[in-house]
């Protein structure tokens, strides 16, 4: 079973370990500056109080394997941006299954009832972009030299997935998970 539990303080050390791993951080916009648990706790207190975001720890058959999160949550326009990573290397192969489970939750009326998800990906991550397209997402633009990382400017691809496009592809319907609700 895929379960999505709201991130708690007890998760922070594990999440920090994942977040600073080379294979994960190379895909993210920022590298943490001298990461430590105190900074992580300060970050957690901030996001915990912020109603425009929610972070879940992903469990696969009882084992925590990664993180998925919504930011820029806007219930007026029913949209949010999102990101995810699988922290346990041997479970990364299941990442392509986690996303459909998440989409089914955020787009369903029983879940968050969103109309659109959007997100940004470093443009050189072709496999990631292809995976999102495989799930039905579309590229809606490119932000040139949007991120300064590893001493160079990097382009960012902007992607989005509309609820209507998602539910049209019935192959993913059966991919369900158990979510601790967003409760802010």
């Amino acid at each position: 079973m895929f379960e999505f539990k709201n991130m708690e303080e007890k998760d922070l050390l594990m999440v920090l370990r994942w977040r600073t791993e080379k294979d994960i951080t190379k895909c993210l916009f920022t590298d943490l500056d001298k990461p430590d648990i105190d900074k992580q706790l300060a970050w957690f207190k901030k996001i915990e109080a912020d109603p425009t975001c929610n972070y879940w720890v992903i469990y696969m058959n009882g084992l925590p394997i990664g993180v998925i999160f919504l930011t820029n949550i806007d219930f007026t326009h029913k949209r949010a941006s999102y990101g995810t990573y699988i922290g346990v290397p041997e479970k990364r192969r299941f990442g392509a299954y986690v996303m459909p489970v998440f989409y089914n939750y955020v787009f369903s009326k029983e879940g968050l009832g969103l109309h659109k998800l959007w997100w940004e990906v470093l443009s050189w991550l072709g496999n990631v972009i292809d995976l999102h397209k495989f799930h039905g997402a579309k590229i809606v633009g490119t932000a040139k030299e949007h991120v300064f990382k590893n001493n160079k400017w990097q382009d960012v691809v902007i992607m989005e997935l509309l609820r209507d496009d998602w539910v049209k592809d019935t192959r993913w319907v059966k991919m369900k998970g158990v979510f601790e609700p967003y409760n802010k």
Partner: protein, 91 residues
Amino acid sequence: MLELFNKAAVDFNGWCSERNRFDLPITLETPVAGPGSPLDSMAMVSFIMGVEELFEAKGISVNLSSAEALEHWDTFGTMISYLEDGLHVRV
């Protein structure tokens, strides 16, 4: 079952060719994904969905995509064993 597997492998090679990615000879010993596997996460999902669709075409409903099922095999050979032994499906 092997016939069905071979059909799924042929379909999968078509899927790969359409995307100009790679043309993989999927065998029973091929690791499903991860270290040692030529398939990335998306390719694995595509292949497994192809197998499910072939079962459905024969009127057999199987869910190889649940979290429980996904951890039951390392190679496509053990996936077939899972189907035959665990679900008692014979095609």
